[in-house]
């Protein structure tokens, strides 16, 4: 029987393989034409620059796997950043405590999304569109736009700017998150439930799995991760301001979808997302090193996204046709 290979997995495989090739190709290309691109220093910078968006993309992956979406992560990053600043400067909390409080805020904000989506059964797109404005708005209202938090102690800035054991200091956190999400999505029943939800939410309910709780979990997680990203971001810039993380939600979604996660949910993977993040980050850095205007990066990202999508559709079309033909031939053994 030539239906031997399950096609959905086939596509997944194909997609990530393609993306990996693209990534390596990018690397080689920019290394060739770009000045000092392939250096260790630059690699570290790429890693450092992709940490925040990388984190958000990781958190976005389970959400999109369940067929949801979260537009509010960027704004939430901004809100958390300035609240972190407030906790530290105005409430005179020590950095670690301030950080913890910030995580709390992130969790609460994520909880708000989750509650509206699961309790009231509202479409995630709309809910998070609303909180997208709300969180950013609160950030601006609290700081009145002007208030900027800065002069953080060096011990804290280290987290965002220095190297630790030869790698950017924030990298361990990012890598930790990667491992966490990879295990969560690919090695635990939660991840499996997320997929199932993306395919058939009703089916999951009928299997006796607490659907609402699982969905809520993904949004709360996203909230917490946004908070972590906010702290790293603050450390990297050495300042917290209401405009932090503007537009990050779109970068994150782009990375996730580029990574082969279906926007309808179900199929997708964390390593795919990782590849997506890397592909974009490398592109952005590479463009600068190739002395090309950074608009190029945006345009190429868009093009890449469309290509990735089409490449994931065409094989399905083909295999669909093939299945139709084969069905006629091989019906004997079945009946």
């Amino acid at each position: 029987m030539n239906a031997k290979q399950p096609t959905w997995k086939q596509n997944l495989f194909r997609h990530e393989a393609i993306l990996l090739v693209v990534l390596i190709a990018e690397w080689i290309f920019f290394d060739a034409i770009g000045r000092n691109f392939g250096t260790y220093d630059n690699s570290c910078d790429i890693l450092r620059h992709s940490c925040e968006i990388g984190l958000l993309a990781l958190a976005m992956t389970p959400i999109i796997l369940t067929g949801g979406i979260d537009l509010s992560v960027g704004s939430l990053l901004g809100l958390c950043a300035i609240l972190f600043g407030k906790f530290w400067r105005d409430a005179h909390l020590p950095i670690p405590v301030a950080a913890l409080c910030t995580l709390g805020v992130g969790a609460l904000a994520g909880g708000l999304n989750a509650a509206l989506i699961t309790r009231l059964r509202l479409p995630p797109l709309i809910v998070t569109l609303g909180t997208f404005s709300l969180f950013r708005g609160l950030a601006e209202a609290i700081t009145q736009g002007v208030d900027t938090f800065t002069n953080f102690p060096n011990s804290f800035l280290f987290l965002g700017q220095e190297r630790w054991l030869g790698i950017p200091a924030q990298a361990p956190i990012f890598i930790g998150a990667v491992i966490f999400f990879w295990l969560l999505v690919h090695q635990t029943t939660y991840g499996r439930t997320f997929r199932a939800l993306g395919f058939a939410p009703e089916g999951v309910r009928f299997a006796g799995i607490p659907v609402e709780r699982r969905i809520a979990m993904t949004y709360v997680l996203a909230g917490i991760i946004s908070a972590i990203a906010a702290i790293i971001y603050t450390a990297r810039l050495g300042q917290a301001k209401a405009d932090a993380g503007n537009g990050y939600e779109l970068y994150a979604i782009t990375a996730v979808v580029l990574g082969g996660t279906s926007i309808f949910g179900g199929t997708g993977s964390v390593h795919g997302t990782l590849l997506g993040v890397a592909a974009i980050a490398v592109l952005q850095s590479g463009i600068v090193h190739a002395l090309q205007p950074s608009e190029m990066a945006g345009m190429l990202t868009g093009a890449l996204l469309i290509l990735a999508l089409t490449s994931s559709v065409l094989p399905k079309m083909i295999s669909g046709l093939r299945a139709r033909k084969s069905a006629l031939k091989l019906s004997k053994p079945i009946a």
């Binding site: 620059h49 810039l237 300042q239 405009d243 964390v270």
Partner: protein, 340 residues
């Protein structure tokens, strides 16, 4: 099978991100070149606050001119989005790229400074223009006009144009833009000191969009019927505000002044809607910046110098500020002499 694949992918990504590539030569490169004697072709990186902004495009024109004369390579690039972290990323990329000098117009004083300090520690010379960073993050600041100079000039202009107890409003780029906040500070200072009876009734952001500036101004005009003057301190804001005043049929009654480019405002200045546009010669700014950057990298410009000769002109240096000169006021009479 699938799991194996995923391990593989994750590894590959990690590898490619950490970069199994060659060892770093970037800082070395930067270091060597700066110590080189004059005559060597330098790479000057010019960082605007944002891409697609006419103001910086005209700076770039001047910069190009200078780079051409000096035979330097000019890189002009900046953030395309609204993400304030982008400037840092570009600077850090330039560091590894191994440029010789970075000339930055800073969106976020503190934010960018961290990146600029890093550049200096890698032996890259740093100067700032248009908007300064923290003093320890750069050698010189090409000062087209101090925030104080700008603030005071705007306020004085305003005061000249209307009675001593007039109401006026401000249109800013965004609530979060650092330099705008600083200018406002000095505007307020000057007002309090010299024109205590004038009243600032509102500050509205226009997100650097002409259309929004227009609708905000429209609202302001009807809210404050005896508003006498609108002061737009971001370049898209001025024509926006002017258009609103014109449409409200209050041309002349409500004065418009602001910081903007001559070309964008000519019609309104001639139409008598906009009375004065305050700005400096942005081309000269770009020119001087690159000249100074080059000289700094070649060691011909040293801390402590009191003057600096760029092309045919000589500029005064106050402390570590290279002065472009007083802010320039464009009016009906002189605006046509400029094209940028």
């Amino acid at each position: 099978m699938k799991r194996f694949l995923s391990y593989f992918c994750s590894l590959a990504v990690a590898a490619s991100m950490i970069g199994c590539g060659k060892n770093s030569e970037a800082p070395a490169a930067g270091g060597n070149q700066t110590s080189n004697p004059a005559g060597k072709k330098l790479t000057v990186a010019l960082l605007p606050k944002s891409k697609g902004n006419a103001y910086f495009i005209s700076c770039q024109k001047g910069a190009q001119k200078a780079a051409g004369e000096l035979g330097d390579e000019l890189i002009f690039d900046g953030p395309t989005g609204t993400d304030p972290a982008k400037q840092n990323e570009i600077v850090e990329n330039w560091i590894t790229l191994g440029v010789d000098v970075i000339a930055a117009a800073c969106e976020n004083k503190e934010g960018i400074s961290t990146a600029l300090r890093k550049a200096q520690s890698k032996g890259i010379k740093v100067i700032t223009y248009d908007a300064d960073a923290l003093p320890d993050a750069r050698s010189f600041f090409v000062n087209q006009a101090t925030p104080q100079g700008i603030g005071y000039t705007l306020m004085d202009q305003a005061a000249q144009l209307c009675s001593s107890n007039a109401e006026f409003a401000i249109i800013t780029a965004s609530l979060t833009a650092a330099n705008q906040q600083e200018w406002q500070k000095f505007i307020e200072e000057d007002r309090a000191k010299n024109y205590p009876n004038m009243k600032l009734v509102a500050v509205k952001p226009c997100d650097d969009l002409k259309d929004k500036a227009q609708s905000e101004t429209t609202a302001l005009l009807s809210t404050y019927p005896n508003l006498k003057l609108v002061m737009a301190i971001c370049s898209p804001g001025v024509p926006g505000a002017a258009e609103a005043v014109k449409q409200a049929g209050k041309t002349g009654q409500v004065k418009v002044i602001g910081l903007g480019l001559p070309n964008e405002n000519k019609i309104y200045v001639h139409g008598g809607v906009t009375q004065a546009v305050v700005l400096w010669n942005t081309m000269d700014l770009g020119y001087l910046t690159v000249q100074a950057a080059d000289a700094l990298a070649r060691g011909t410009l040293k801390p402590g110098d009191t003057s600096f000769k760029a092309g045919s002109q000589t500029y005064e240096i106050q402390g570590d500020n290279i002065m472009l000169g007083k802010p320039f006021v464009f009016t009906k009479d002189n605006i046509d002499q400029f094209d940028f």
